[in-house]
Amino acid sequence: MDAIILQVLNGLDKGSAYALIALGLTLIFGTLGVVNFAHGALFMLGAFCAVTLNAILRLSTETIDPSRTDFLGNPLKVKTPYVENWFGPEIGGAMIEWSVPLAIVFAIPVMVAVGIATERGLIKYFYKRPHADQILVTFGLAIVLQEIIKYFFGANPIPTPAPDAFIGSFDFGALVGMEAGTIIYPYWRLVYFAFAAIVIGAVFAFLQYTTFGMVVRAGMADRETVGLLGINIDKRFTIMFAIAACVAGLAGVMYAPINSPNYHMGMDFLVLSFVVVVVGGMGSLPGAVAAGFLLGILESFASMSQVVNLLPGINQIIIYLVAIIILLTRPRGLLGRKGVMEG
């Protein structure tokens, strides 16, 4: 029983990341009609916003300490971050420690700018081109973004820890009256799940309860008619692309402490996120979210040693297997709408 609870909890945080990325993918596909293979790279850019802010906060002055030497035998250069000089060691130290949550504020304008620049500078020229062209150009963009990040940050993962307050783990077993120490779950992963729930809720509320959201939903249903009504749907779609980029970026920022970011992390999520979109139903936002969590949890269960011993290799194919079954039984996906990507 405790193993099952643990794997469900495990699946929730991975599912949160899938859901957030798939949500953005679906928003872009549903509104702009573009299959965006650069979406994983936007997730990676978000994680590197956290890395960048951490590096900025750690910018330091150097003083020579003659009593110690470096690896070449020269006097050691001791680094003191500027923020510690300006705000004192306590506040400066706390700013560095809390750099990941602070990076949310940093990432929002960066990701919005990246989103607008990408849509206006590249994607808009591909609206009327076949999906294959869109896939090629966005995949190319993903590679370019990856290489830029690798040029500046290298290929190795960069540790970006959560604040000390969230570094430990939470004894879920003891809380629900089971044996202590059997269901341990890291605090930061709980934070990630809660954060994902808030972001998903905010996006849905925005689309459901604002006039802007209403127009976008109408545009998703019938772009041509909305255009005929005299509404500048293109401008709104640019904003939607920026919002989708922002959602992916925020998912990346908060994911940084879970796995040290590297330039390739977006690709690891991209393919799975597309499967999530297809399973959830092309163009369906609730479908994307539900499928994200569902596949995250299934993937966790498939990695259990009991399951792997029974069916070797199942952990590597489970998501694709489920996708095939769903497409055979429900060709539009779990919550797919009629008419999307059909005819």
Binding site: D2, A3, L6, Q7, N10, D13, K14, R68, D70, F71, L72, L76, K150, G154, A155, N156, P157, I158, P159, P161, I167, G168, S169, G181, T182, I183, I184, Y185, P186, W188, R189, I258, N259, S260, N262, H264, M265, D268, E299, S300, S303, M304, S305, Q306, V308, N315, Q316
Partner: protein, 447 residues
């Protein structure tokens, strides 16, 4: 003037000889040279095949820095580095056999097929006489086999699988780096002292040649001192989140986790294990411990604080105090501004050893190089007295047992050496079961 008529028989004979000559495959024409890619001008070309893209690109970049430094030193530029401390004095800083050393580079991408393609291109198009480099055992085994077929020498870079000089060994291939068996033999006594003889170990293992052989080696060495291996779970190389593999450990009665992972796998699995509180656990009345048998400073940097206090092994570390290591660190540090990694060290040493073998043998012929390196004993290259064993072309030297440093003084000061295990303790017979099944064969000069 005498006119000599052309007879029908003569014409057929001449045409036949010319026809056979033109139709002869390239490989027969190459017989004109004594061996493949024999350098004829004033230069000799070496091929550095390293990961320039992909997840090990940083290690590849460090390997390339070391190669460039080695080429500088061989050509008599710079401060000479370990040329000054090397026990052999055959190298004079005037290239190799008086020929200036030039190099070409290839990108392995840490993929066997890409690595073979880039090595092939360097051999066939650029005329590389020797191929060296790499940061993965899968790649090393594939490129070593290619070099054997092509008739050039392969000086392996970072490869730690037993198979490279075990079942996949080749006469044209040489490995300076240590292997999984040696890591296990060096680590076992240290682990026994630190954690006792009554332990239950749970292994997570990267699912490819290196992971399998290291797991087998560690399990065998720890079981021999009384530990029990409770489980070994193979994890896909492409895995990034290991939480699903970590959580079953909480349900097991294991009190030690062995991470047979390298690179990004190691960074992520160790980070996940620490996040799930494994290091704070008490099982069977003992503190739960984690072991990372193969350490790399570059990877330790990626794992950050999580490596503190964790045991592992390494081929070489920049903090060693012997004169060879000091010379290399000074030379590398002055040129690049930071200390070299173990990958850089082994690649630099391999280049020097190749050049030295050519000088001592008096020829670039691969068979002469093989003869010069087999059974060769040397010193002054950072690992103490070392033997290139003739039976399997594996170097035997001291192994470092290291631990993640509790209080690092700089961003490079991540590992501390806890023991230098003598070569005798990590030496095994050539027919040891973990290395059985292969055949070294005979050297191929490509002639």
């Amino acid at each position: 003037m005498i006119k000599r008529p052309i007879s029908r028989r003569g014409l057929i004979k001449t045409a036949g000889v010319v026809g056979v000559g033109l139709a002869a495959p390239h490989v027969f024409i190459r017989n004109a040279n004594a061996f493949n890619n024999e350098p004829t001008g004033g230069t000799v070309t070496l091929g550095f095949n390293v990961p320039q893209t992909g997840p090990y690109a940083d290690e590849g970049a460090d390997e390339l820095r070391a190669y460039e430094l080695a080429v500088e030193h061989l050509n008599g530029e710079g401060d000479g580095g370990m040329l000054n401390t090397f026990s052999s004095k055959a190298l004079k800083g005037n290239g190799i056999l008086g020929k200036k050393v030039e190099f070409v580079t290839g990108d392995t991408q840490t993929k066997s097929d890409a690595a073979r393609a880039s090595a092939k291109s360097m051999i066939e198009k650029d005329g590389a006489i020797m191929i060296t480099g790499g940061s993965s055992s899968g790649v090393a085994v594939a490129v070593q086999s290619l070099c054997q077929e092509a008739g050039v020498i392969f000086m392996a870079g970072l490869t730690h699988s037993n198979d490279t000089t075990g079942k996949d060994k080749k006469a044209n291939g040489f490995r300076h780096f240590f292997n999984g068996y040696m890591s296990a033999a060096a680590l076992a006594p240290v682990l026994k002292n630190a954690y006792g003889t009554d332990r239950k170990a749970y292994h997570l293992t990267a699912d490819y040649t290196w992971g399998w052989t290291q797991q087998e080696s560690i399990a065998s060495a720890t079981e021999a001192m009384g530990w029990e291996t409770v489980n070994n779970v193979l994890t896909p190389l492409a895995a990034t989140d290991f939480s699903a593999y970590i959580t079953p450990i909480l349900q097991s009665d294991a009190d030690v986790l062995v991470l047979n992972h390298y690179g990004g796998n190691m960074v992520n699995s160790l980070t996940n294990a620490v996040q799930f509180g494994l290091r704070d656990r008490q099982v069977n009345g003992k503190n739960f411990e984690i072991i990372v048998p193969l350490y790399s400073r570059l990877m330790a940097k990626g794992a950050g604080e999580n490596v503190k206090g964790i045991f592992g092994s390494t081929n070489w570390h920049w903090s060693l105090e012997d004169e060879g290591s000091i010379a290399f660190v000074q030379s590398f540090g002055k040129k690049y501004g930071f200390p070299p990694s173990q990958a850089a060290h082994t690649c630099y040493v391999q280049t020097l050893l190749y050049a030295d073998a050519v000088e001592r043998g008096g020829s670039f012929n691969p068979c002469s190089v093989v003869e010069a390196l087999e059974g060769y004993e040397f010193d002054g290259l950072g690992n103490g007295p070392t033997l290139y064993r003739a039976d399997d072309h594996q170097c035997f030297k001291d192994v470092l047992v290291v631990k993640g440093k509790e209080n690092p003084t700089s961003e490079f000061d991540l590992l501390e050496i806890v023991e230098v295990t003598p070569a005798a303790q990590v030496t095994y017979p050539p027919d040891h079961p973990m290395f059985a099944g292969g055949d070294l064969g005979t050297c191929n000069s490509g002639a």
